[in-house]
């Protein structure tokens, strides 16, 4: 280390410029806008924490927060379970088979979120593909309410989040020594016992990383809940947008945005004690 750094001070300073120029851009065009959001939340309509008091007094806001927490939790649990299954399978089949599994996961990962929500809407709305087919076959007489409710939102969000669960889990499981489970079996463990007591604990870091990613991304999700919730199931991001565009209520809008921001960073701060966040976000 010392050896590498004993180049002239001037060189080090030159490399610092490479860091500081982008940092200045970030400060002006990103951190400053964020600071404005925080600032407005405590100054509009009047200085003080009046907006934040609404978190404790407004039942409307509490209902939105409860819906958001519930949807995110359900989404995270389902996405993690499905993601675990997919990642585990991918690592326990032949190479070509694995490549195909990853191909479909990545295909979905790269598809536009808007298009995916739109596809669900096409399928699930009352005159959509599913309802038309079911009525055509005479199985139902009234269209089923598949969308514009919490069911539709969770379905769309799980669909979006599964790739985000698979990828960190896969990366983590790839690092697990494949000889350990056979070793446990050789020492007399049942297949389930070997999985439960050897494989699962080893994959815990992956589970934690994937849960953080999925939960945090779900919390601030706008497009899918807005389209599939259809104004009936409203999550916090859509509610914030409504505050600004419909009622021009910047105080409440920025207060909720700040709450969201603080929540996300609190979760990350807690998680940083358990896992290396740099690893979660892939810079290590």
């Amino acid at each position: 280390m010392n050896w590498a750094l004993d180049g002239t001070e001037r060189t080090a300073r030159a490399y610092w410029i490479l860091v500081l120029v982008p940092l200045a851009a970030l400060a002006l065009f990103y951190l400053y806008p964020l600071a404005k959001v925080l600032w407005i939340s405590v100054t509009v309509p009047r200085p003080g924490l009046g907006n934040f008091a609404l978190l404790f007094t407004s039942s409307g806001i509490q209902r939105i927060l409860a819906t958001t927490a519930r949807v995110c939790l359900i989404t995270t649990i389902i996405s993690l379970a499905v993601g675990y299954l997919v990642a585990y399978t991918a690592l326990h089949v032949r190479k070509t088979h694995e490549a195909w599994i990853l191909f479909f996961v990545l295909l979905c990962f790269w598809l536009s979120v808007l298009i995916r929500a739109f596809a669900w809407l096409t399928l699930l709305q009352s005159r959509g593909v599913v309802n038309t087919a079911l009525m055509g076959w005479g199985w139902i007489s009234e269209p089923l309410p598949l969308v514009r409710n919490e069911f539709g939102v969770v379905l769309g969000m799980v669909h979006y989040m599964i790739p985000y669960a698979v990828l960190p889990l896969y990366a983590n499981m790839k690092g697990i020594d494949p000889r350990l489970v056979p070793a446990a079996r050789g020492l007399g463990a049942t297949p389930w016992g070997a999985f439960w007591r050897v494989y699962l604990p080893l994959s815990l870091p992956g589970i934690i990383s994937a849960s953080i990613l999925v939960f945090i991304f779900s919390l601030g999700f706008y497009i899918t809940p807005a389209l599939l919730g259809g104004g009936k199931t409203i999550m916090i991001a859509e509610y914030i947008a409504l505050q600004i565009t419909d009622t021009l209520n910047w105080g409440v809008g920025t207060m909720l945005a700040s709450t969201l921001l603080i929540t996300v960073f609190l979760i990350l701060a807690v998680m940083a004690r358990i896992v290396d966040l740099r690893r979660v976000f892939g810079i290590r």
């Binding site: 590498a4 180049g7 060189t11 490399y15 610092w16 410029i17 490479l18 860091v19 982008p22 940092l23 065009f29 990103y30 400053y32 964020l34 600071a35 404005k36 959001v37 407005i40 499905v82 299954l85 997919v86 399978t89 326990h92 089949v93 088979h97 490549a99 195909w100 479909f104 996961v105 295909l107 979905c108 790269w110 979120v113 808007l114 298009i115 739109f118 596809a119 096409t122 399928l123 709305q125 038309t132 599964i162 297949p191 919390l219 601030g220 706008y222 497009i223 389209l227 991001a237 947008a241 600004i244 809008g253 945005a257 969201l260 921001l261 996300v264 740099r278 976000f281 892939g282 810079i283």
Partner: protein, 267 residues
């Protein structure tokens, strides 16, 4: 399916579950393809008659074409800027490697972590002040911020295996700083730069929430047009656009897949 044949017996139920999950991921999306050929004015599966009218609408409607143009302008410009800034950060942090630079690198990831709605409000407020509302420049600046973290990550990953002494060696052999960067470090970082550029472009190309807040009439990107198309009674032209975008994604993935296979068999 022949894919299953040689997998061991214990894994079979999980293989079945996995393909069910993959079916769940892919099948709903493919449904937009037949819908895009409906002869009706509303979203429906074509029964008997297939029509190209919604594709025709795409080509003849100047607003769709303009939205693609705007998305390309903003996407390409913000990608170029994000690549420049993100690569500089990653290279600088790689060489400096102190606690402070590590903290800065974490900070650079913020636009990727902060929920879009939060920075959308911030961009709106700041852009009003800077006079950037509803300008290409304003949207490019916002998308540059959103693309930068991906470049920082991919270039850092590419440099993680590059020995710091390489830089030292180049300097000792008489290369100046600029030459060292251009001829030694940047080439080593290139795979990361390319991957980061793809991420940054796709991020910009897909961005909607920020666009809803900082643009209105003057800058009108493709996701915005799709969004408006879904809002007003779901125009089936959206299904046609969706089909084209799905095919483009699929084509890009296949090219990448074949490339990876070829590299694998070559190496």
């Amino acid at each position: 399916m022949s894919l299953y044949e040689r997998t061991s017996a214990g894994i079979r139920p999980t293989v079945f579950g996995t393909w069910l999950a993959l079916l769940f991921l892919v099948l709903p999306v493919t449904m937009v393809v037949p819908v895009s050929f409906t002869p009706q004015r509303y979203l429906s599966l074509p029964s008997g008659v297939w029509s190209l009218r919604h594709y025709d609408a795409l080509i003849t409607d100047p607003i769709w074409l303009r939205s693609i143009r705007d998305s390309l302008i903003v996407g390409l410009s913000s990608t170029a800027l994000a690549v420049a800034l993100g690569t500089a950060t990653a290279i600088g942090c790689w060489r400096v490697s102190t606690r402070a630079s590590e903290a800065i690198r974490m900070l650079m990831l913020a636009p990727m972590i902060v929920p879009a709605i939060v920075h959308a409000l911030g961009f709106y407020q700041a852009w009003v002040q800077f006079g950037l509302i509803d300008t290409h420049l304003g949207l490019i600046a916002a998308h540059t911020m959103k693309g930068m973290p991906y470049v920082v990550i991919t270039v850092s990953a590419a440099l993680a295996n590059v020995d710091l002494r390489l830089e030292q060696a180049a300097r000792n052999l008489g290369a100046n700083l600029w030459q060292t960067l251009r001829m030694v470090i940047v080439p080593a970082a290139m795979p990361g730069v390319a991957a980061g550029a793809v991420f940054a472009f796709v991020t910009s190309w897909d961005e909607l929430v920020v666009n809803l807040f900082v643009t209105s009439r003057n800058v009108y990107t493709l996701p915005r047009k799709i969004w408006d198309g879904i809002q007003d009674n779901i125009n089936p032209a959206v299904a046609a656009v969706a089909t084209i975008l799905i095919l483009l994604t699929l084509a890009a993935m296949l090219v990448r897949f074949v490339q990876a296979k070829r590299q694998e068999s070559a190496g």
